[in-house]
Symmetry: D2
Subunit: 300 residues, 4 copies
């Protein structure tokens, strides 16, 4: 990522979705989180995203979320940008949390909108608009139609293009055709981050600026190598790398996201604990699968 | 409902799912809630359920939920049992909230388990077991596979039958065949409450003890008449009543639940306000539909 | 069923969906089919439906289908009405097959519309209208949204009400609420037959005139008893019977339909063979389940 | 495509899924089909696939299908390979049709397995195995989980790898991650053709050998240009081309497949008629959309 882009607050590259290390009472393990942050920055990641889906942002109370962001911001120490997740069911609470998160000192926020009842496009637009207006930092839109009862359409994104600080879209639909339709219709208005449900390489080929996802916690160097190969248009090398890394995405999708990444990090020596119940731990068979994949990739 | 059953804590009959009246800043309108409670009790309902799905239990913070339960318990004044909803994504928070809710003085709790990531049967059992053990009052299990990524199976219910204070099941799947399979397999171990996604009359025919749902806020007398006709085995009369009431269930399913009941209550003179954004208000066309239905039923 | 209704061509009661007995080369076993027809009439069924879903109507070529209808009409010998399935992907072929089926001497047809590509309401209406106009006998509409990419709406049914010889609807959605909406909106315009995806008793309570489905091949007497209890408004007895019979519906839904009924008939001594590949035979575990259910019901 | 590969019967490149031109009585318009074949070959396509999904293979009777294949084989005159669709619900009929199709003189077959009842993996394997054994020409496996109630898994494909004449897979799931998993697990055992539900370029990047789909009837030159750019590893040019062509894929998915391609061909002067009812014609708004897209692509 060129320095001048960084200075302009242009996010690009590999942004691991950080897990939130918790003890068996659900309390934040602050030093483990700080160590993980330092480890990933030393490995070369371009940014950090606490409190995404993998970070159990939907499951944590505000004091824990606030403390997690504080720890990440402090441990990052300005070395890479921090884009923190904001995850609330109501617009009012989301806007408030976004504002408080910004004041902690993050470089951007990622807005996740979970649902209980289904919602329609008009409400989707109103929600993201209100949250974007609650902050002055860059906003990343997030959508995952597998976990929430709505999805962005080309039309809702066009409406949100009015909000000047909404700069990024992380689409976790896994539907690369839909992403191509969005890019075709909206040009470069929103910079696109790949999710793990996508094949990141293909998002890069379409002009995507990076990959924000949990697996990058486990394979930061390999993720960076893939990103660099794509950035430098060494496409055949990138395809080979992508094929090699793909099994981790498959495992990550198949097993519960936080469980998979937390189990892998434990194997790598980070005592991040388990996901909050009633989320499932990775069971013995799942751990075997993840261990084998990490060994094959050279990450264990 | 016979008095001796009441004394034993046996819940049966019509339990309106109370809406949570809120002003445009999201603050509880306490006197409106108290008035609604008094109105419904005078109309003859057999119990009250604040903070169900219709009560926006998934959207409210704990202070608001706590205050809503306090207002309902106080306004009910022991005239009918209060079964309050407990709605959390994590087992730890749900158990804590269940315990605090019990201490407010409710007669029972209804446990709603929303999800972000999908969960499996083992975790479902563990969650409900832990919450049931956090209280000594009767527990009602709730499932709605349209709004959460799990559903009870006959097998998970068999496991939960071990917990002696789990006495009730409210199934909102709308699948009457599934309910018959549960009843066939588990006999009378769990008393069944119908949801609005079901045809309540048929749940009564299978031995269901009542109807817990939002529409009963709007048509308490008619709901009671249906329940009484079924209880007294006046089946043809019950069928005719059920057919007359059915359009309200259809509207309730079609439009956002809280929006539909809140709009209807406003028509009846209760200033309950709107559902919390990004939930949708009932639009003009929806209000016309609901108004026409309420007029046809004789509830406006 | 009163005789005068029969004379008017009013279909009501238990209409087993006949399996199509086939040898291992896929050839019709005519004498087995004739024996089954005679057996079911002696047991008291009110009509017969060859070539429904269970009859593998979607899988057979026209010569086999034609011969099957001829055998059933001849074996029935006018003792009960025969309502034969017509099952085609194109309107032209369906209309032609309907006409030829009528000329064999059936009393009515049941129109099944399978799909490859999804279709919209306007085409659904046009298809059933065209097929109805190709015959002069009574037509039964059939819908099963699990097996085809369309479903009747209240609005499409209202349009089809124009065709005077469309007299019946067999809805296999299993959604009793939808059926209540149809009955509420259309009154008695279409007489309703229950499918096995429904709880037949509840369809009877809503005014349904009978049950057309595969399980009645296996439990004709019990099905008739349920129908008679409902017709005579002995509702509590009907509920008890329905609960007893329900496990067969569950098995029928869970296992492939034709496979389940064919396996059960083999147990009862009818050498009906297997469903056409690639349909699955009922495996050992499935046969055990079906055998146990039939024993419990008293049908083995 | 190198000539030596052609000689070995190695299919690769752009294979338009031919529509089946029909008059308003459903009769084959033979000369229109022959003209279309000649036109596409002159435009440079690498092969032809009559009777795929777009060719309405699921809707036509055997005499029409047989005649369509004869016309295509004769019109092609050996200039490009013909891979004809075989589309049946039963294994017996599919094997018979496959054999007869081979005797017409095709170079390969594409096996489509529609369903009425859902089927399981074991039956899927048995079906494709039996059909493959009924011919000696190369077989292309086809799967489209949107239109049939099964899908290939890595495991079923591994089993089918035993059949030496099964050489190709056309996956129409649109799930590029699944395709990557298949390629990772099975290496080059099956050569992959893209469907229009995929982004063809990305299938090429993963090693896919071509694109078999309806839109290539409308934009043969542009499809070939995309294929050649990918084959020659001019990736940036390929991405730009792919983005330009993508809107046609979107329209093709959105509208009924045969309707969309037939309407476009009519605009280009081929009198192919309409899809068979109850399939929908492309309506006025749809025709406008398709016309605009073809104009933008330079195909009108």
């Amino acid at each position: 990522m060129p320095l001048d882009e960084m200075k302009e607050g242009y996010f690009a590259g590999i942004f691991p979705y950080l897990v939130t290390p918790l003890d068996d009472k659900g309390r934040l393990k602050e030093s483990v989180l700080a160590d993980l942050v330092d480890h990933l920055i030393r490995k070369g990641v371009h940014g950090l995203t606490p409190l995404g889906s993998t970070g159990e942002g939907a499951y944590l109370d505000w004091p824990t979320k606030k403390r997690a962001v504080e720890v990440v911001v402090k441990a990052a120490g300005g070395r890479v940008p921090v884009v923190a997740g904001v995850n609330n069911l109501t617009t009012h609470a989301a806007a408030l949390e976004a504002s408080e998160t910004e004041h902690i000192g993050v470089d951007g926020i990622l807005v996740v909108l979970p649902t209980y009842f289904p919602i329609v496009d008009e409400q989707v637009v109103a929600h993201f608009r209100a949250v974007a207006r609650a902050v002055s930092c860059p906003v990343t839109l997030y959508t995952n139609p597998k976990f929430a009862m709505w999805d962005f359409t080309v039309d809702t994104l066009k409406q949100l293009a009015d909000e000047s600080n909404i700069g990024y879209l992380k689409d976790a639909s896994g539907n690369i055709g839909k992403l191509m339709s969005i890019i075709t219709a909206l040009g470069g208005r929103f910079k696109i981050f790949s999710a793990s449900a996508h094949v990141p390489l293909f998002v890069f080929m379409l002009g995507g600026v990076g990959w924000m996802a949990g697996p990058a916690c486990l394979i930061p160097e390999q993720s960076i190598a893939l990103y660099e190969a794509a950035r430098q248009k060494r496409w055949e090398e990138a395809v080979a790398l992508q094929k090699k890394l793909w099994p981790l995405n498959v495992a990550f999708q198949r097993y519960s996201l936080a469980a998979c990444v937390k189990a892998g990090l434990e194997m790598q020596g980070f005592s991040v604990g388990f996901p909050l119940p009633p989320q499932r731990h990775l069971d013995r068979e799942g751990r075997k699968v993840v261990q084998k994949i990490l060994e094959d990739i050279g990450a264990l």
